[in-house]
């Protein structure tokens, strides 16, 4: 993707930073140290502590919290969260990719218009967009009203659908919230793809499937990977959508962490869950990088 913070070319006209340069940068560095590095470090230290009386954190070195995460109850919740997030990511890519591709292949004016149409839901509060589905999915909601008035309900389906507060509703909500987060980066990659490459592949006798697999996917991979990252990790921790769409019935890792800090007041256990979640985030990120690199290498090997 363009404009990656870490990959900007260094400014060739930059001068070595003197004492003034460091002093001026100090507020920002202090901010990062205080509010990014220190909190993470405290979280890590807490995760090895234990909960004392009245929720006081007792520091120490015990793996008790991590052992507790290995309990089948929590493993199942972790597994479920990852499963839901993975399903959401897959659906978002499958649904979003063709649309992003189509938009990227339009004329500049149409590209601009269609992109604005994606931008509005992207910037609209996710809370509002999730809330919209309550009105649609609940048992006396719009969906069932439409199904009844069109005669589907008594004839095709035996009873009105009871979707709200089910896993299906959670996945619908998550896909709805995160879909623009896939369309936009995939679009950014697809828009940069040189169309003559597709012509060349076709002229050299590649069928549509081969063009898709060996030209389109590798060249839009940065966008796909970025989109997957933007969906997968936040979706694991997004307890607000799970709460609204799943009610109390579907508990995810985000809900468990939230509980530890607001109701159970077991900071060390919550911290351990947070650390595991962070590791999960780093791992999935590394996996995506590795996939991309392997793709590049196999492409070069050919």
């Amino acid at each position: 993707m363009q404009g990656l913070p870490g990959t900007l070319p260094p400014n060739p006209h930059a001068r070595p930073a003197g004492a003034w340069g460091w002093w001026l940068l100090a507020p920002m560095l202090a901010w990062l140290a205080l509010f990014v590095v220190a909190p993470m470090a405290i979280l890590l230290v807490y995760s090895f502590g234990s909960r004392g009386a009245l929720g006081v954190v007792e520091l120490g070195f015990s793996l008790e919290n991590y052992e507790r995460i290995a309990d089948p109850i929590y493993l199942r919740i972790f597994g479920r969260s990852i499963g839901y997030a993975a399903l959401t990511t897959l659906l978002c890519v499958v649904i979003g990719f063709p649309a992003a591709w189509f938009i990227a292949r339009r004329s500049p004016e149409w590209r601009g218009r269609l992109l604005l149409l994606v931008m509005v839901p992207f910037w609209t509060s996710f809370l509002i967009r999730t809330y919209a589905w309550i009105a649609i999915l609940r048992s006396e909601g719009l969906l069932n009203a439409v199904l009844k008035s069109s005669g589907v309900v008594p004839h095709v389906l035996p009873a009105p659908l009871d979707l709200l507060y089910t896993p299906t509703a959670v996945v619908i909500g998550l896909v709805y919230v995160y879909l623009p987060f896939v369309i936009l980066p995939v679009y950014a990659s697809a828009e940069k793809l040189d169309g003559t490459l597709l012509e060349a592949a076709q002229d050299l006798g590649a069928g549509p499937l081969r063009v898709f697999r060996e030209v389109i996917v590798p060249l839009t991979w940065p966008g796909i990977a970025a989109g997957m990252m933007l969906v997968f990790v936040p979706a694991i921790g997004m307890f607000a959508v799970t709460d609204l769409m799943g009610g109390a019935r579907v508990s995810m890792i985000g809900n468990v962490i939230h509980n530890q800090f607001t109701r159970a007041l077991n900071f060390p256990f919550g911290a351990a869950l947070g650390v595991v979640f962070t590791l999960l985030f780093v791992l999935s990120y590394a996996l995506l990088l590795w996939l991309g690199r392997r793709r590049d290498e196999t492409a070069k090997a050919r």
Binding site: M1, P5, G6, L8, P9, N11, A14, R15, A17, G21, L25, M28, W31, L32, F35, V36, A38, P39, M40, I42, L43, P98, A99, F102, R106, P108, G112, L115, L116, L117, V118, V120, P121, T124, F126, L127, I128, T130, A135, E140, A145, Y176, F181, L184, D194, L198, E199, P208, P222, A226, M229, P234, G237, A240, D243, L244, G254, F261, Y285, L288
Partner: protein, 299 residues
Amino acid sequence: MPTVHAAPSPQPVYPAASSRPTAADSVAPSGPRRAGRSGAWWVERGLAAWTAGVLAFLYLPILVLIAYSFNSSRLNVVWEGFTLRWYGELFSHAPLIRAFKNSLIVAGASTVLAVLLGTIGAWLLHRNRYRFARAIQTLICVPMVMPEIVIGISLLVLFTLVHLELGHLTMILAHTTFCFPFVLVAVQARLQGLDPALEEAALDLGATPARAFWLVILPCLRPAVVAGGLMAFTLSMDELIISIFTAGPDSRTLPMQVFGMARVGLNPMLNALSAIFVVTTIAFVLFTEHLRRLATRAA
């Protein structure tokens, strides 16, 4: 080093409708290429229908919500007649108004801080060569890519450890932390296209570096600073997860209030609020698009 860019920025990251011509249009024409209906024609039609379906999926729920906000029925299923009653109730609902004020305070203060930190940081990192520049840049990206819930709980443990009472101050600190990297990145993208001779000329003409920055560089960066500031404001106004962990009892923000109300179920006031949100978002998107056009024209 993250290659993934989490910035939902319409400006530097996703260049809308660049005018760069691509050969793509000749590969996938919107009409039939040859006489008859070739495979490509069907693929194209399929993609168009798919995209229309995706846009319908994205917009129908929002539009339904807006329509219901004018429905006099409390139950939202049958249309019973036009009313503005829910908007009236919305504006006289004290907890919502208070939450909205809190949101404005937090977002306003965080935006100011984020713009200061982000703009100055971007300029310094651009102008000077720092040791560990890559490490600093990576650290700046952490709050952008880190899952919100981890940022939220880590700041909560920090604030409780130093006995900082949760309230407006802790929220402003938290929101600035995740907002300023977005401003910084937006300004950095703009600095890429800046002529280095500008600052040199100002310095040669006798300006101090601070004066040169204020009088020459900052005016050039204005579109990016405004866009980054708008982004920071919007992100802050919309933030729920980090707020839940860092807010005190008197600093509940609008998203927190909405979340609390939506958990209970449908509420016609929320429909009205949603309609206002959506209209505001449309205005915001159009405005940033306008800014982006101005910026590309100037560059």
